[in-house]
Point group: C2
Chain length 230, copies 2
Amino acid sequence: MHPYAELISGTLLFEGLADGHVNELLGIAVEKAYEKNEMIFMEGDRASGLYVSTDGMIKIYKLSQEGKEQILHIFGPGEPFGEVPVFSGGTFPAHAEAIVKSRALFFPRDALVGLITGNPAIALNMLAVMSMRLRRFTVQIENLTLKEVPGRLAAYLLMLASEQNNNKVVRLNISKAHLAGFLGTIPETLSRMLARMANLNLIHVAGREIKLLDMDGLSALAESGKIVDL
Amino acid sequence: MHPYAELISGTLLFEGLADGHVNELLGIAVEKAYEKNEMIFMEGDRASGLYVSTDGMIKIYKLSQEGKEQILHIFGPGEPFGEVPVFSGGTFPAHAEAIVKSRALFFPRDALVGLITGNPAIALNMLAVMSMRLRRFTVQIENLTLKEVPGRLAAYLLMLASEQNNNKVVRLNISKAHLAGFLGTIPETLSRMLARMANLNLIHVAGREIKLLDMDGLSALAESGKIVDL
DNA sequence: CGTATGGATTGACTTAAGTCAACGACAACG
DNA sequence: CGTTGTCGTTGACTTAAGTCAATCCATACG
């Protein structure tokens, strides 16, 4: 059995696919490995298939002329990326880079289109994945334009907590510089906001461990987007 | 023949669908009409199908606590909206409101899922539509976070020009207040930026008619996101 | 024909967050 | 054990864009 059969058949994208199909699919997949900070593809590159991360962590991001980066997604094992050009043609809309040593499977476009054509369940899975992406983008745009940095940060921390069993102590799985890039700000500002929120006894910060002290306060901040007091 | 058969079979979403299917689909569609400023659905509403605009103009938007609005899309005839919950379940991710007297067809979820299941071409069309939405969102996030207001405005004007036969005189099809909402700013700021760009002889503004005087300058501004002077 | 009404503009002021630069902490490594 | 580099923090300053308020303009309307 293929080493990634279990991972692949457990992903949202390929779930419900018969074992035969999974093995067939894995037969045509190309395994790729990337060092930390290695580019996987660049915005504008011609695309010929999609990737599924199997190991490590991948950032998808845009870069401004001046070099500021806006992170769109950070993907871990099991998550597909680079799927947009498979269906709308053309080129990748953003850059992809491994932020730690990573591995991914690459699936050529034609095999996927064939699979989807013959397999309505996979088509619906793919539509579900893309719908969730769209949903997350609307939230991200909302956060970026309708909330200030402390509001975005509070919303992020609450999201992390809900992902991590609603534990009161969350652990950042990325560097603070990357978090700043995801929140649409810069490390200096993030640092100041963490300090302010600690002053207000909303949180307690120890490296990448952040203790959420006042869930109601954080929720209010995440909702209103405005910090109540200094 | 159904009055909207031509419009529907010409949309990206349903193109390539056999006439029989189109008529069947139109048989189950519900026609809806909306006055100017009437809500079509609200963020958080339980969804049971998607809409295709047939007439008028629809804005899809988010609202902040303080009432500021961020417009995500403005859709005209032939464009589907409200499709996200059809595939990922749950509720609408944003509000939809008619900005002029409008009409739309509503397609119940089950009929669509059935159609897609039995019709791979439609599945691929839907995937193409959603891919393009994702692509546009990445551009929108890039503009909102990596460019300043003049850069976003220049990019918008150039996009309008390319949509309108590359004419040097573009016509805004929405109010300046709505444009501000789409660009992630407020009418006052938009007004000032138009004035600044006019001062720099980049454009000439006469109501909703905007003459693009310096395409290279506008491109530079749209790229860099920074206004060169004044 | 005067007057509401919504859209747009302008001015004075405030503020969130970016820039630039220095410094601190900590781990990895020779 | 000091050196080097990465990551994070802090301070002083600048700036883009938001707020609030007044005004303007055009069109619609009684």
